[in-house]
Symmetry: none
Subunit: 409 residues, 2 copies
């Protein structure tokens, strides 16, 4: 049976935008991995009528309803009461919860907390050693209703330790997914090439664009892990056939991680000479633990003088072609390679905007050079978006060029 799930977060602080709804994300991820179909997330405030309305609709249309928040000791905390009312169940006092609370609070249980020891009749207690509010698991009329405390540091372990094993036994399905990471082509161009594959119902294929990258997610639903893996592998083959040239990684493998790993594996080093990116690329590489094996030094040469001083870019080159030119980028890359002794020298120079553009050299024009093994590749990029986006995309393009050279070497 395919179980339909729904997540309800209770709390006025969410509706005021005081906090991010990280619980909805965590629960969505977990329920999806268990093979449940999450069709809705909702947020409702600590208001009895609106809570009742939301609970009523959720239990009606979904098989599994997970509620978070509103289990605290104050009068505002109403989730348990509203669920009990909906199912017309009395709240029963549990001595064992009182004892657990006493232990958790080192003996000092404020009178208000006694409220937390009441559970709807017939429900199971989700014992909470991370806080005072126990979770509740209620099966009734073919529906499963799960109540969890709001703080993520309580909700997450309670879900993983007690709710997950319970739901796993209820679901006949396994969901697996693989994220394919692509660079060098836009979302709509990629989507165009896999348009027919995106119509597949199982596994599904969904595109997503973020920060100058595109990802394609393959998600398979099956009865066993092996079946799901096979399903994903088959779809992947077809995707790779169409857009293989743009694929650089999978799942959490960011571009900087992939390139750092390749460099490390081959014992190669890199040094950057950055103008418009001003250290962003160097900093991205240093973000990877152990980067000191591949990065020794870099220079930020924002001014023309710095380009001459640190990199030996010729004065005539700057005069004749300008700081933003393929010639300058090339001399920057070769200059930092020479100065640093690194295997790869990167030069980046461009116009990040919002000012500084001209008709011949508009905002978004970036020259990127990669010097390696006696050869220098120079690329012209025409980027768009904010200053930050242009700079970030320049860094990704630089890393991608290094990756392409290493791949073909």
């Amino acid at each position: 049976m395919e179980l339909k799930a729904e997540i309800i977060a209770v709390g006025t602080e969410l509706l005021l935008g005081d906090i991010l709804n990280t619980n909805a994300r965590f629960l969505s991820q977990q329920l999806s991995l268990l093979g449940l179909d999450v069709y809705y997330q909702e947020v409702v405030g600590d208001n009895p009528d609106r809570m009742k309305e939301v609970i009523c609709r959720a239990v009606d249309r979904s098989d599994v309803v997970v509620l978070s928040g509103g289990l605290g000791p104050t009068d505002d905390d109403l989730t348990k009461e509203m669920v009990a009312q909906y199912f017309e169940l009395p709240l029963i006092f549990h001595e064992e919860i009182m004892e657990e609370m006493t232990q958790y609070l080192h003996g000092n249980v404020p009178p208000a907390n006694k409220k937390q020891a009441y559970i709807p009749e017939g429900a199971k207690i989700i014992h909470n050693s991370y806080g005072t509010a126990p979770g509740i698991l209620l099966e009734r009329g073919g529906k499963i209703v799960i109540l969890l405390p709001g703080p993520p540091r309580e909700l997450e372990p309670l879900f993983l330790e007690q709710v997950k094993p319970y739901l796993r036994a209820k679901s006949d399905f396994v969901m697996k997914s693989k994220v394919i990471r692509l660079f060098g082509s836009g979302e709509s161009a990629i989507a165009q090439k896999v348009k027919d594959l995106m119509e597949s119902a199982n596994p599904t294929l969904a595109p997503y664009a973020k920060d100058s990258e595109v990802t394609l997610r393959i998600t398979a639903k099956a009865h066993t892990e092996e079946e799901a893996d096979g399903c994903i592998a088959k779809m992947y083959e077809q995707v790779a056939d169409r857009v293989g040239e743009y694929i650089y990684g999978f799942d959490d493998d960011e571009m900087k991680i992939v390139v750092c790993r390749m460099l490390k594996e081959r014992g190669l080093t890199i040094a950057t000479a950055e103008s418009c990116t001003a250290g962003m690329l160097s900093s991205m590489i240093a973000d990877i633990p152990g980067a000191s094996a591949v990065l020794f030094e870099s220079v930020v040469t924002y001014s023309n003088e710095a380009k001459e001083k640190y990199l030996g870019v010729r004065h005539e080159t700057l005069e004749q072609f300008g700081a933003v030119s393929p010639q300058t980028a090339q001399e920057m890359a070769e200059g930092i390679r020479r100065a640093s002794g690194a295997d790869f020298g990167i030069g980046i120079t461009g116009i990040a905007g919002p000012d500084g553009g001209t008709p011949e050299k508009p905002v978004g024009l970036v020259y990127l050079a990669v010097a390696y093994a006696g050869k220098t590749v120079v690329k012209e990029l025409n980027l768009y978006g904010s200053r930050r986006k242009v700079r970030y995309a320049s860094c990704l393009h630089a890393l991608n060029e290094v990756r392409k050279i290493l791949k073909s070497a």
Copy 2:
């Protein structure tokens, strides 16, 4: 009239838990500040029937419905179509949107994107210079429906620049808020000092911690702007009395913006010598438009050799005290100041982790030096958190030291 508002985020990636619903939080915050009552948030996938169900209920029970996502060029993107269907409005092609898209994409508009130039009849276009999907503003039967693109870097500016002024004119209340930005003390320590002020009902005072910074938000609800301003000013005075020494800016004034502005105003320049931060500080400064007036050059000296070569850090200093030491930081700061001729020379060296720590020099130990006008200030920082957090906090501390020097100069 108090307007009831509701937020609907569209996207299967939210239901799979792939991404956090930051849009719901942003919109909740903004709508609340405008004096609207946000009663519900919902998330629904890219499914026509479920989208119609959610839209229908939202328009029925709320005065203002804000939808985010599902405005892209693919067949999956259905938000606009479902809203048009609900109101029985045809979609009309707008040449001006096509022109804006052509400009944004430098002339290369893929055929699929043409879809984005269609808008429900009678709706207003929310012009988007941050991406290809325009937003939509629809008033119909006393209801206001607003559609915004999903990527936060498009949604947020479009809301602030075009939706906010529009909604402000609709509401009888004025909500105003002022964000006070603090650095150099933790959230709970700050909160402790303004505890009693946090109990005020109007204006409210709420603390928030993010990325090594603390903010305090004063929010006032009033009938006129002047009344709200007066209310905020009075509260601000009390806050400044208690924690004034940590205040560095207001509202969107990030530390890097504040420091860049101060440097520019005085015609001063800065250069960085970065080890563990590896260009992050230089890149943060370059993130500010017009940074070329204050930043000419910087160096990333990850290795000891680079510290000697570029900065003239003495071999004996590195041998005797190590790369992570106050002595090395000082020589780095003085070295880059000398090499660059900049007014401020910054040196940062530390252990960002997760590896590389020792009992004497644990992960999170960072030395920071600022050389200015013949004097060098050296600070020892003991930071915690991820590699990225340690590096980022180091950069903020460096900027804050520069700010303090400039303020007292």
